[in-house]
């Protein structure tokens, strides 16, 4: 779906409320949002729950918003970003009041140690499995913001400006952080 088609679908859905137009948007953005969430929570079930929560919010609020293709991307990912943050906040509170940042760090370590996770999920092709597993570990070693930037910039191909608006960062900061993350991954792969 290109920007023009996305614009049209948003407009038509807002105008008519016809679910066909929403489904077009849904099918286009579902893998992106799911991926963005999955690489943060590293759990299929949680990722699915949070993804459906995100789309519920999108469905309920899209008609009351004034969006185009550019702002919609930023808006949808911002919802996903906030939903994940809320999830970690809820979890950290329920786990003996561990700080949010500490919880996320521990969570990543714990989940990544469970190497069966990726195998069970069967998300990645068998030939890529070993390499992807290594890459997953590399990705999770990155600071949270850099990890998100890598996903948004190089996986979902969002521009720096959109990423900045999602993560509340300056475009130049996003640019620098994305290069640093890429450089780190490159050097780790080289080893």
């Amino acid at each position: 779906m290109d920007d023009l088609e996305l614009n049209l679908s948003i407009k038509q859905f807002k105008k008519s409320g016809d679910s066909v137009y929403f489904e077009k948007i849904y099918h286009h953005f579902l893998p992106k949002i799911y991926r963005f969430i999955f690489f943060q929570v590293l759990n299929k079930q949680t990722a699915e729950d949070l993804t459906s929560e995100v789309f519920m919010k999108i469905y309920n609020n899209i008609r009351g918003s004034n969006l185009n293709s550019f702002t919609f991307k930023a808006w949808a990912f911002k919802i996903a970003h906030n939903t994940v943050i809320d999830y970690f906040r809820r979890e950290s509170k329920s786990k003996n009041d561990v700080s949010f940042e500490q919880y996320v760090e521990e969570y990543n370590e714990r989940e990544i140690k469970d190497k069966n996770l990726i195998k069970e999920e069967k998300y990645l092709a068998n030939e890529l499995l070993l390499e992807s597993e290594k890459l997953m570990i590399l990705l999770n070693r990155l600071p949270q913001d850099q990890k998100k930037i890598v996903l948004l910039r190089y996986v979902d191909e969002l521009d720096y400006k959109t990423i900045g608006s999602i993560l509340n960062k300056k475009e130049s900061a996003v640019r620098t952080m994305s290069f640093r993350a890429l450089k780190y991954i490159k050097e780790e792969i080289k080893k």
């Binding site: 893998p31 991926r35 999955f38 699915e48 309920n60 890529l128 890429l182 991954i185």
Partner: protein
């Protein structure tokens, strides 16, 4: 070149290369087109390798089952939300929440105040064209009193002049259009003309010429009023006389007393000394009315007399009957006219 500078250049070149790839250009095309990339080829290729591995994450996708079930879940939930929203709105529209207890007296006070102020304003507005004898005339006068009390001393002069003009206009309407009002009302009107004139003078608002003009006008009104009163009384008596004539012996008391109220001759003829006293005063005042000086005393006499007239008009006392009979016998009204 320093290490830091080299890293910066490298960052710029890599970023530029990636942005070209984003625009849809092929890596080979970029190397061929921009010679600057050639010197960094090995570096760029390492980055490209890392990038392609990261892009492999794109193969992470949700299952088809989840895709379907999530969509259904969204529709179900949103339907529920819409229903509950509708119900909530319906309830809130149908039965509005009761006002908080402490707000009740406040709301009652405000609504009463607004109602009264609006209705009073409306009544005052409606009363602007009223003349003495109208129901709304008292409202007009009370509004003027309020206006007077809220006006500073500097504005009192013009205000009283305006009121004086109003009173004179009212008197002119009554006199010119021959509107039937009681003598009491007419006397009150004359009294208020005098009062407003006096107040204008108190505030030294009138110039000498204005003063003279107003004086002449007021005197003219007074003269006209008194003439009208006389005429009215005369007409009233005649009317009564005719009525009595028609009735024969019926209520000729009315005719008798009515005559007594205006004419000396009748009162002397029949009723008592008080009546004759009144009539004497009347005569005196008739003369004085033209001079304006004793206008008040004249008016009082008129009003007293007229009050008597009204009362007698309704009474059917046997005594009066006797009196009336005597008048009738002597053709009281003819007497009166003759006396006049």
């Amino acid at each position: 070149m320093f290490k830091a500078d080299k890293a910066k250049v490298e960052e710029k070149i890599i970023s530029k290369f990636i942005s070209l790839l984003d625009k849809g250009h092929d890596a080979d095309y970029c190397f061929a087109k921009f010679p600057v990339f050639k010197s960094y080829r090995s570096e760029i290729e390492q980055y490209l390798d890392a990038l392609s591995k990261i892009r492999d994450f794109r193969s992470v996708k949700p299952s088809k089952k989840f895709e379907k079930s999530a969509l259904e879940k969204i529709y179900q939930n949103t339907q529920k939300t819409e229903e509950s929203y509708f119900q909530k709105n319906l309830v809130s529209r149908g039965a509005s929440k009761p006002a908080r207890p402490f707000l009740k007296p406040v709301i009652a006070f405000i609504s009463t105040f607004l109602f009264l102020s609006f209705s009073y304003t409306g009544t005052v507005f409606a009363s602007t064209n009223s003349i003495p004898g109208d129901i709304l005339y008292s409202v007009k006068i009370s509004a003027e009193h309020i206006q007077t009390s809220f006006t500073p001393p500097s504005g009192q002069g013009p205000l009283h002049l305006r009121f004086l003009n109003r009173r004179m206009a009212e008197a002119a309407i009554i006199l010119n259009e021959n509107i039937n009002i009681s003598d009491e009302e007419l006397n009150k009107l004359l009294g208020s003309i005098d009062l407003e004139y006096k107040r204008c003078n108190e505030h030294h608002y009138l110039s000498g010429q204005q003063n003279e003009t107003l004086n002449i006008e007021i005197n003219g009104i007074k003269t006209k009023t008194q003439m009208r009163m006389r005429k009215m009384d005369g007409t009233g008596s005649e009317g009564m006389g005719k009525g009595i004539g028609g009735n024969g012996m019926g209520n000729n008391n009315n005719g008798g007393q009515c005559t007594s109220s205006t004419e000396t001759s009748v009162s002397g003829n029949s009723i008592d000394t008080t009546a004759s006293d009144n009539s004497t005063e009347t005569t005196a005042s008739d003369n004085s009315a033209e001079t304006t000086a004793s206008g008040n005393s004249t008016e009082t006499t008129f009003s007293n007399n007229s009050a008597e007239t009204t009362a007698s008009g309704n009474s059917t006392k046997p005594d009066s009957d006797t009196v009336g009979a005597s008048n009738n016998d002597g053709t009281g009204f003819d007497n009166k006219n003759g006396g006049k």
